[in-house]
């Protein structure tokens, strides 16, 4: 399926329907202890200039040495994006002056990136899916940071981030609306987090996106002139920026104007994009192969080894959940969206006495009871008061018929509030379902004897049996086994 054939939102306007065409460049910080070309730490939040090596500060005579772990991370990511991994790639210098770039150039990959074409499959509402092409992925250095609030007359430079490895992941212009754009970043982030190649923390700037937006009349095949919205660090803002930018461009064209190719910034307070620099002001980066670095070369065996060790990715996991445990596509998607939630569910599964029987039940409990509660209380999965082991025990108790679903909710509440072993709690607090027919029979007989009118009703209309079930459950404090009660009532009343 090609992206343009996928269902997507068109923008209606006075002169007809418009299609938005979006391509993205996502900058993902590589998870590694050291920087791309130096041994300095990548730890976040150090004192300014405390993680800076001689290489990062571009002292005279310093030379870059590639961090092999960053190479492995890029290859893993390429494999996770089903992309072509290039056994030979080249580092280039992108030349420009700025105080956050001590070398006076950024080491990047221009003509020969480490990863070529790949794809990301997005699932959209209503079970639709769309494939977004990946153009390339390359490794490059991050820049430092300017501090403008330290002095009234000077700017200061913090080089802690300078030289940290980034993966620039460039999509094809296959994205067609804000919803797809948001889904793309969400999915990409999820894949990176599963792979462990980027922590995906957008607040800390570990994942940023440049969004290229153009519009064209529906049915046209040529691309319109694009504007690039730089440095977006929130998925919601990406959506807002695209909506705004598309409308802005359509208005200009409909008013007889034309779009200037330019770089724009999104202002989240005003919800609008603003021009940052025009094409004429664009730098000539004078790219050329970095003579300090040999071409990056590795063997297919190196790639194969990384491939063999690749973790299960969200798409594979999702289909395993569906086929293995009968989960709905929606539930499976919810569970795999975040690596942590999938891992939590997997731990619950591993602890279940009978996961074939109770896997689906466990999914319901993880999603509805646990995630619902965590969301409500604003607690992260990692800090959940109910552990995977405890939740598995609760699901086991339901599955084996020891407690009802209703009692289970009470039990969950106790575990949430007080902790403890669910199985022991059921015993000590007398929450176990009563399946002893003798004990139930006495209660049933008493209720039948006291309510002859209801007996008549039930005989005439079997649905009225539920009233008796309710009464029995009530007087047993919810512990009577509903199934046993039902059968007993049926035989007593002869319905």
């Amino acid at each position: 399926m090609t992206a343009s054939a996928a269902p997507h939102k068109l923008i209606k306007s006075a002169t007809g329907d418009w299609e938005v065409v979006i391509g993205m460049e996502v900058h993902a910080q590589v998870t590694s202890n050291a920087k791309l070309f130096s041994g300095a730490s990548t730890a976040f939040g150090g004192e300014p200039n405390s993680h800076v090596s001689l290489v990062d500060a571009a002292m005279p005579g310093m030379l870059p040495v590639i961090n092999e772990e960053c190479v492995r991370q890029a290859v893993r990511t390429g494999l996770g994006l089903n992309a072509q991994v290039n056994l030979r790639s080249v580092f280039d210098r992108k030349n420009y002056f700025y105080p956050d770039s001590p070398q006076g150039y950024q080491i990047s990959q221009y003509k020969s990136p480490i990863v070529g074409e790949g794809e990301v499959v997005l699932e959209l509402d209503g079970g639709r899916s769309v494939t977004i092409g990946i153009e390339r992925l390359h490794l490059e250095q991050d820049a430092g940071k300017l501090l403008h609030d330290q002095s009234p007359t000077m700017s200061y430079v913090d080089l802690n981030r300078c030289g940290v490895a980034l993966m620039e992941i460039v999509s094809k212009p296959d994205i067609r609306d804000a919803e797809q754009a948001k889904a793309y970043v969400t999915k990409l982030r999820s894949i990176l987090r599963y792979l462990g190649t980027c922590d995906g923390d957008m607040e800390k700037g570990s994942l940023r996106a440049d969004v290229n937006v153009s519009v064209r009349r529906h049915g046209e095949t040529a691309l319109g002139t694009r504007c690039e919205i730089k440095n977006m660090n929130s998925i919601n803002f990406i959506g807002q920026a695209i909506e705004y930018e598309a409308r802005r461009q359509i208005e200009i064209i409909e008013d007889g104007g034309s779009i200037d190719q330019e770089t724009r910034l999104f202002d989240p307070n005003k919800g609008e994009t603003r021009s940052m620099r025009s094409k004429e002001e664009a730098h000539d980066y004078r790219y050329f192969p970095d003579p300090d670095l040999l071409p990056l070369e590795f063997s297919q065996a190196f790639v194969d080894e990384l491939k063999a060790q690749l973790p299960e990715l969200p798409d594979e996991k999702k289909s395993r959940f569906i086929t293995g445990f009968g989960l709905s596509s929606y539930d499976a998607s919810v569970l795999v969206a975040e690596r942590e939630s999938a891992e939590f569910y997997e731990t619950v599964l591993a602890r279940l006495a009978d996961k074939a029987r109770d896997g689906k039940l466990a999914a319901n409990w993880v999603i509805n009871e646990l995630f619902g509660r965590l969301n409500k209380e604003g607690v992260a999965i990692a800090a959940s008061p109910v552990s995977a082991e405890q939740l598995a025990a609760i699901v086991d108790l339901i599955g084996e018929g020891a407690i009802s679903g209703k009692i289970a909710k009470d039990l969950f509440e106790i575990v949430w509030q007080e902790g403890g072993d669910p199985r022991a709690l059921v015993e000590t607090r007398g929450m176990k379902q009563v399946t002893d027919l003798g004990a139930i029979e006495k209660v049933v007989d008493d209720i039948i004897a006291a309510n002859p009118d209801k007996v008549e009703q039930a005989k005439a209309k079997p649905a009225a049996l539920q009233w008796f079930v309710g009464q029995v459950m009530k007087s047993s404090g919810g512990k009577a086994n509903p199934k046993a009660v039902n059968e007993l009532l049926k035989s007593k009343l002869g319905v």
Binding site: P102, R286, F288
Partner: protein, 491 residues
């Protein structure tokens, strides 16, 4: 006792071992010589205290029998090499009073082996020049003079301080660097021996970069044997420079005196230039005859792309330089000129900090890498480079062991004589040497004779990759045949 400064490294090594003199005495003799020869402007920084400390330490090690291969040997270091806690400027105003907190790999290996640092040697600014006239510390004077003349001559460049100091007995040997001929041309102008090893043989870590794909460190010394001794210490793989090569360093000194019988020596016809002085031509054939007499076989070879080497070099080297020198921006170290904003600060600092020749090359380099010009200049120059490399490969594939050429198209010239109106006049100095850098090969310049005015002339031998040993063997043959050429002392 003979003047200790006139000893070779090999001789001094014996004297130290036999306790004829101490490292401290050897160093003191050199410090005195340096002080007396300041008129040459070879040193931009003298480090007598450091020198005496290092000499003392060397004496202690020698006494315990733990002296390294260079224990107590006083050396001068080109100011392009970072020396820990000692000012390193690349002879550029833009580095100002820069004191590196690190030591270059090459110099740290020399200190590991016991050598003594006398001071930092003058060079062309950022090693850009062929006469040592572009240094912010002013030009270096060659100890050699034309017979019957007081005209001060250049020692060549960019390692002019190194060559002048070695020739004038101001150190026993010196480090140098060679991007297009900066070791070999000054060696030829001063009757010293200079070798640019194969690209990747020495680490570039801690050497101020000019053109990364061409820069190589090497020694300048008074004899082939001394150059071999220094080379062994300077060479070696360095994980901090990924372009350095992990090949064991041989005992280069063992190649001195080794027979060259049966070696094939290529004489490239393209190096015979129109209008080449007859004395250069004569020297070249003399050199060939000496090698033949030693048992080598002479073969005429062709290096057809030679004429494109210099123009291509003056695209590749400035391109890399324009990028390598971008870090001198006044933000973190070195010269910063006050300004209203950051762009102005860059402009003022770089305009004031870089000399004319450096600015010219930054401009050329920026131009040839610009959008729309990249393919026509930089890319084409890289293709030429590949062809030049192939010329040599074809030649070596035919069994040629080394190639003999003149080192320079002329002897030393006067300060201010060349390049004033046309920089190309100066660039032509490197016509015989740049091909070697473009191909990444080793090349050695050895003194071979004098011109009619009594100025020294050198011959160049170009070798196969990582076969510096053959160059030392052949260089020794020339040295034995030509004799040595001690510089006059007039200061």
């Amino acid at each position: 006792m003979t003047d200790l400064t006139s000893l070779t490294i090999a001789e001094a090594r014996e004297g130290l071992a036999s306790k004829s003199f101490t490292a401290r005495e050897l160093t003191d003799a050199h410090l005195a010589a340096i002080e007396a020869a300041r008129v040459l402007n070879a040193y931009v920084l003298e480090t007598p205290d450091r020198a005496r400390d290092m000499a003392k330490a060397a004496d202690e090690k020698i006494a315990k029998g733990e002296g390294g291969s260079l224990a107590g040997i006083p050396l001068g270091i080109k100011d392009l090499f970072a020396t820990r806690d000692i000012r390193t400027t690349a002879c550029s105003k833009i580095l100002g009073n820069f004191i590196p907190p690190y030591e270059s790999t090459v110099t740290s290996q020399l200190w590991r082996d016991g050598a003594v640092l006398l001071g930092k040697l003058n060079n062309d600014e950022f090693a850009m020049g062929s006469s040592n006239e572009t240094s912010c510390f002013g030009p270096v004077t060659n100890p050699w003079r034309r017979e019957g003349s007081n005209t001060t001559l250049v020692p060549g460049g960019s390692s002019g301080g190194s060559a002048s100091a070695v020739a004038a007995l101001l150190c026993m040997g010196a480090t140098a660097t060679d991007t297009g001929g900066s070791i070999r041309q000054p060696a030829a102008f001063t009757a010293t021996v200079g070798i640019k090893p194969t690209y990747g043989r020495c680490s570039r870590w801690g050497i101020v970069a000019f053109a990364s794909s061409l820069d190589q460190a090497g020694p300048i010394a008074r004899t082939t044997r001394d150059a071999a001794i220094l080379m062994r210490s300077m060479a070696g793989h360095d994980p901090k420079d990924t372009t350095s090569v992990d090949i064991a360093v041989p005992d280069y000194e063992a190649a001195i005196g080794k027979s060259v019988k049966g070696m094939k020596i290529g004489i490239p016809r393209e190096y015979r230039l129109d209008g080449m002085p007859a004395e250069i031509e004569k020297l070249w054939s003399e050199g060939a005859q000496w090698l033949k007499a030693a048992g080598a076989e002479l073969v005429e070879v062709s290096l057809p792309h030679t004429k494109y080497a210099l123009p291509a070099y003056y695209i590749v080297a400035p391109a890399e330089a324009s990028s390598n020198l971008a870090r001198y921006d006044g933000v973190r170290y070195g010269l910063r000129e006050p300004a209203k904003n950051i762009i102005e600060m860059y402009e003022n600092s770089r305009a004031d900090g870089f000399g004319d020749e450096v600015r010219r090359r930054v401009l050329i380099g920026t131009y040839v890498l610009s959008a729309g010009y990249y393919d026509a200049y930089y890319l084409r120059a890289q293709k030429v480079r590949t062809l030049i490399k192939k010329d040599f490969e074809d030649c070596f594939a035919k069994g040629v062991n080394a190639i003999l050429t003149p080192a320079t198209p002329s002897a030393a010239f006067g300060i201010g004589e060349k390049g004033g109106a046309d920089p190309v006049e100066m660039y032509l100095n490197d016509i015989f040497t740049v091909t070697v850098n473009m191909a990444g090969l080793p090349g050695i310049a050895v003194p071979a004779g004098k011109d009619t005015q009594g100025l020294p002339l050198g011959l160049q031998l170009i070798g196969r990759p990582f076969d510096e040993e053959t160059l030392f063997s052949l260089g020794e043959v020339i040295e034995q045949a030509a004799g040595r050429f001690p510089a006059p002392r007039w200061w």
